[in-house]
Amino acid sequence: MKRMLEKGRLSTKQLSVLVIFSVIGESLLVIPSSVAEEAKQDAWISGLIGMTAGLLIAWMIFRIGQTYGPKTLIEHNRALLGRWAGGTVSVLYLLYFLINISALIREIGDFITTQFLPETPLRAVHLIIVILIIWAVKSGLETLARAGEVFFPLFAVLLISMFVFLLPQFHSDRLQPMLGQGIPSILRGSLFIFAFPFCELIVLLMIFPYVAHNPKLQKDYMLAVLFGGLTICLLILISILVLGPNLSAYHSYASYAIAQKISIGHFVERLEALLAVNWIVSTYYKISLFYYGLILGSAQLFNLRDYRQLTVPTGMIVFGLAFIISPNIVYFNAKVSYWVIIDILFALLIPALLFFIGLTRRKKRLKRPASAEK
């Protein structure tokens, strides 16, 4: 008996919008600083290397999703590894989703309370975000994707106009000396770009089964990933051009700092709030996707008949964890490099292992006579 927990279907366009949002995600604000700290003025080279590797892993995630067919990651784990081993892998993935959601919410909370509303308690910001993601996931996947389509044009126009308004501030000499930091630090910087935007696309394995079939799906998906990746690279390049490598590494919100520098004829100024809105929108979609993956995954793990009743209690767990996850912003920022490692572990190593286990199983099944198949 096959129960379908999710009845909605995404169109190719809706999936592309969600992919762009989750690639840009929280990276829009925080990534230039991490990369510039490792690679200094060569951060943009790191960006290109990371994007190339990222396109590869995004393609890999898509192909893996195609081999799963109508199964999500959690269902596939059970079918491949059996109840206990598959359940263990699934629980690890759900914990990864949970800790990622908490960290992303904490990032929004930290940003708003340090830059915008210093008098507001962190928990008030967390509460609003948690209510919003509960609302989104309770309304279903299709609603979330349609709301994404509504927000997307505004998001794109604001982001592009920010890039254009910054043109007068570019100082190309900030890119010198090229390759001054050596190849290892460039590669180290590219790991951040590989991990945060692209490896976290692994959550799409929970969504691919609900995307309507379309021959152009792969092309549009890859284009969406490419647009997201180019935005990230451009952002890093601009933050080096405008702020220079040292200031980019020094500001933990480098894009916010460059948006503050926009000044067109002393008239168009103080556009940083627009950037903050953009960032909150894209991070919100990323959180919602992860939250959707977590809720749907737990429902499938426990074989439940509906996932909607889990949204509010899990929201309370997320609300608590977003506070507990770090005692303060300094601790949180010092642990950024650990996210790179767990992202690569969950998006590259474990899926590759599962894929090879699947290959050996299939070979065994082919060797056996057909009568054993029943």
Partner: protein, 75 residues
């Protein structure tokens, strides 16, 4: 103190709204998972609302991956 009461109030009202339909449909497994998540959520939310300092769960990740992290990102 009021924070704790607020969280308990929210938890009880969520349970009162969402649990009866599950029992009516005899979805006992769903109800059990719901109650477990609600209890965990209540405890964690009370910790958050009362600002009780706990060691971060990130410390587990840090302990496990410290050798790889130090190899990848030497200071």
């Amino acid at each position: 103190m009021w924070g704790t009461f607020a969280v308990l109030f929210v938890a009880v009202s969520v349970g009162m709204i969402e649990l009866p339909p599950l029992f009516r449909k005899r979805w006992y497994k769903e109800a059990v998972v719901h109650i477990a998540a609600l209890l965990a959520g209540t405890v964690l939310s009370i910790i958050a609302i009362r600002l009780i300092a706990l060691p971060s769960p990130l410390n587990i990740i840090v302990t496990v991956f410290k050798p790889i992290n130090d190899w990848l990102f030497p200071k």
